[in-house]
Amino acid sequence: MSNPNNEAIRLAAAHGRFLGSLVIRGGRVIDPGQGIDAITDIAIRDGFVDAVGIGIDAPPGAQVIDARGLIVTPGFVDVHTHLREPGFEYRETIATGTAAAAAGGFTTVCAMPNTEPAIDTTAVVDFIHDTARRQGSVRVYVIGAITRGRKGKALADLIELANAGVVAYSDDGDCVTDSALMRNALAYSRTTGRPVVQHAEDRALTTGAQMHEGSVSARLGLAGWPRAAEEVIVARDCELAALTGAHLHVAHVSSAGTLDFIRRARSRGVHVTAEVTPHHLTLTDSLVGGHWWSATASLPAYDTRTKVNPPLRETPDSLAMAAGLRDGVIDCIATDHAPHGTTDKHCEYQAAASGISNLETALGSVLAVVHAGGLTLVEAIAALTIRPARVFGLAAGTLLPGMAGDVTILDPDREWCVDPTQFRSKGRNTPLAGHILRGQVIQTIVGGEVICDRSA
């Protein structure tokens, strides 16, 4: 679903400065955007894809990467990243966040606007583009706020934001709860065609909520976040999208019931898309209960690294998320990378901030679903590349000649232990600390330049 104005969206980071040739030889190239799944070569010249085919001659002086035995894909695209800068640099900066992205195989990220100040003016958009150009490791697109200051009261200048280059609008972190305002935001967004990304959470139903409402929360004595709090907003927003003809994108779906509403709206022709995070595909609320639920659980009870919004739910929900990706009701994977500082999480559960730092573990989590048979490798790659790019109308996620030479080379079987102290991200907050993941990025290439290299 691309931008109906059909204009190429301005690239935020001009990494095309890299001049030279790169040939990637002999890898299994999986590019679902072109229907390619074959052992073949890729040639990149002066930052752009030159050719994809067998037996490409390497020009003199070209760097050659031997990718035999490895998987070669378009660089991953993340449409939901919290880079925290400006305002929360102790949690992450554009420099550290994009380094983490590269480490995780992502060559394009979209920065969410819950910064300080919020991204609701050209000045802040320009600051981010600028900082990303100078200090970023990967391409950064910007998501602008729906409402001024993200306060949920008045619309931001959505057209000005689009002119500055934002690729979508969101108040993420907060839900636009006012139905009239949401209707107006959707209607007005038709001027630019950018999707309106909703963090679906009926605040009245989640007052004081700490985790999913279920038997674990009942036992732990923590206020619960019922599925209904997400579902009622999605149901409402689908109706509003139908009414206005706008593009609604549902952020971080967590409940199986939400998928029913999306499916129903789609069948009526509503333009609604959806994303799911790696943690909602793989983790459940039993993790918060720690050892009580599983003798092999790696976390003690009430570990704040499990606290995230929307919360980890139950096994049927996570299975429904994988099934949703498979049948297309969920369009793509998006990390919702939410780095936090030590002080944000080293406290009692009630006081802890919500969020998981997961750019660097996303691939491992997604491959766990593949290894367990919930998705094929091609489906997983599609959900990380062409599908997010299409939802947001980005010129990324596939290796057509002429497109940016952004490539990820990965070993789907390499096992590694998650050690947050080695993260490029400042955010060490992951419930996967100490886990063995199977599947790791070997090289991340942006504009023909190797940005992350684990081949040694």
Partner: protein, 323 residues
């Protein structure tokens, strides 16, 4: 007792519970002496760290610690660095550095003592964390029932009140079911925790305790009271009305309040319990609270003995009559 901390009864085996109850009996005997002092904790420093207001629990712990010859220090949230914004973790580190041997903690956040217990070498006793647990209260409830009725196994315990927000209900449920009783939880639908019965039934199976339907849930007070050997009333707070969970305390007291007419529906001679403080006239009528079936005062008395037992056992004492 082979554990560092007492945070909740959910992971106690039946044997561990019996060990505590046995030791409590011995401690009760100590309390009957003219000089109610024994030396096991002499030279030890026990810190009462209470982030929430409490009269009976704090005093109960303090008396228990002193009876065991320990030195006691009280920290309450007001009048301490907590008001200056000191975090729980910082307070914990300070206690560690000051050499506390045992920390008794009450906190408004469920799970707070777990964080503290992980960071402290000292033993931590949970004196109540948010809605989650109040293990010593449940232990004194168990002791009270056992001493009055002679046994817990096979008994039917009805807990009536705001179950959703009650750490007493949760811990009592774990305690009573682990020792083979049945528990019925009764409250208006808005004050019942969804999924708690399942969590307990699953947890009990994991502990190897197989009883048919140990925990049931109902909003019908007559059903709850039928054949009950023990009726435990819980405080219902005015705040629940203010936040829309209850239309009025008046309606609550008419539909769920334990009155003389209602208590007659339980088994003859059923015990009436309440963790205190009571809202007389709301969840329990004064005539029942002070009537012949009430063991509420005994609960308080037993509380000191139970807390002495827990502290003694955590400090490495051996269960048994000779103290």
């Amino acid at each position: 007792m082979r554990r560092k901390d007492v945070l909740d009864l959910d992971d106690f085996t039946a044997d561990e519970l019996r060990e505590v109850l046995e030791t409590t009996a011995a401690m009760k005997e100590v309390l009957a002496r003219p000089i109610r002092r024994v030396p096991p904790l002499r030279g030890k420093t026990i810190v009462n760290c209470f982030y929430e207001a409490s009269t009976r629990t704090r005093v109960s712990f303090e008396l228990a610690a002193k009876n065991l010859s320990a030195d006691v220090v009280n920290i309450t949230a007001s009048g301490s660095s907590v008001e200056k914004g000191e975090t729980l973790v910082d307070t914990t580190r300070t206690l560690q550095a000051l050499g506390a041997d045992m920390v008794i903690m009450r906190h408004g956040a469920s799970g707070a003592p777990y964080l503290v217990a992980r960071e402290l070498e000292a033993s931590v006793i949970n004196a109540g964390d948010g809605w989650h647990a109040h293990p010593t209260q449940a232990l004194l409830d168990l002791f009270t029932v056992q001493s009055r009725l002679g046994s817990i196994e096979g008994r039917r315990v009805a807990i009536i009140g705001d179950i959703l927000h009650s750490r007493v209900a949760r811990s009592a449920t774990w305690g009573f079911t682990t020792l083979g009783a049945q528990v019925v939880l009764c409250a208006p639908p808005t004050l019942l925790p969804i999924g708690f019965a399942d969590a307990v039934n699953t947890g009990l199976r994991a502990k190897g305790i197989v009883t048919a339907c140990p925990v049931t849930v109902t909003h019908d007070v007559d059903e709850a009271l039928r054949d009950a050997d023990v009726v435990m009333a819980l405080r219902v707070q005015r705040e629940r009305m203010d936040s829309g969970l209850l239309p009025s305390l008046r309606e609550y007291s008419r539909e769920w309040g334990i009155t003389r007419e209602r208590i007659a529906k339980a088994r003859f001679g059923a015990l009436v319990m309440h963790p205190g403080p009571m809202n007389e006239g709301v969840e329990i009528s004064p005539e029942v609270a002070y009537g012949p079936q009430s063991v509420i005062e005994a609960q308080v008395t037993n509380g000191v003995a139970v807390r002495m037992a827990v502290m003694y056992l955590l400090a490495g004492g051996r269960a048994g009559p000779a103290v």
